[in-house]
Amino acid sequence: MKRTIIRVTVAVGASVLLAACVAAAPKEKTALEKRLEDPRVKNYIVGEKMTGYVFATAATRTVQDDDFENPAFLWVDIGEENWSKVDGAAGKSCASCHGDAPDSMKGVGATYPKYSGETKKLMALQHRINWERENRMKAKPWKWESDEMLGMTAYVKLQSRGMPVNVKIDGPAKPFYEAGKKFYNQRRGMLDMACANCHVDYPATMIRSNLLSQGMPNGFPTYRLKWQKVGSLHRRFRGCNKQVRAAPYKQGTDEYTNLELFLMDRARDLPMETPSVRM
């Protein structure tokens, strides 16, 4: 009898001790909690919104933070060079009319895509750049994913770095925004998934080896390590469409431009980050 009591006491004591240990054992931090420990990420968070910088690894953030180490600046250099290079029958360069880009293009990139009364269209910055080339310079348009176009887009958007994303979605821009929103929430592809099913429902979870982000557009064109070069936001859309085995659209189509407007509105108030570096 006495023995039993002792045994019970020992058992109870042991289990209390065990329970105490379990309670005291530190809970393993989530991947996002670990990311948030880096003081650098605070500039990339506004309320509930976080840019891809927060979800990137510390090493990737370090590459982005140094304008020299960031390989996207090889493309920015091309943009800067072409800014003042005369091209086309009108004998003009961008600089002939706009002067220095850091002054004239300040804040412009944060407002695109933008509805243009002249063309009655929603224009991504790339459309605008080609419109300027064709109509004001009488020069040949650049291909969407060419080094020249990526470079100029990155160079113009760089002049808005740190400024809040601020697109117009009312007035004549409204139908384009609505179309973009519909696309974003529409299931598609063999996997029958909408953009929102990943980037709204599951950010901060692992998808294969990627920490899924909120899918923000504010850092494009981006240097993607996987691409080993700079690429446009529409190229990323193609990748995300193909991931769910849906037929991708071409870069520069109305579908993707509308989608870009919706995404830029989703990123409203986050700082422009072009040119970002991502996995």
């Binding site: 020299f68 180490e69 390989p71 600046f73 090889l74 493309w75 250099d77 091309i78 080094d147 020249e148 390590l225 080993q228 070069k229």
Partner: protein, 107 residues
Amino acid sequence: MAKKPRIKVPKSAKKGEQIQIKTLISHKMETGRRKGKDGKLIPRMIINNFSCKFGGKEVFSADMYPAIAANPYFAFYVTVDKSGTFEFAWTDDKGKTVTASKDIAVT
């Protein structure tokens, strides 16, 4: 369009000072192990050597192999004793060399 290499060398330094040099060049660094759309191997095409000379004398060099990612970046330190010119050279598998130079004033 050929992208120019990016180079960072301080414009001036004190005699005996250790300075940092950074270089970045655009190159696809094709490994020779990838297959193209036609199923055939894409031939290897990498920058296989980088060198930096100061006043005609080599102060840093590196051999590269296919595991180096595209757009190779180098950062290294050099001690400078007198004013002069750094000459940089990147040589690829076809023997083509891209060169660039930067001056430094040492006081």
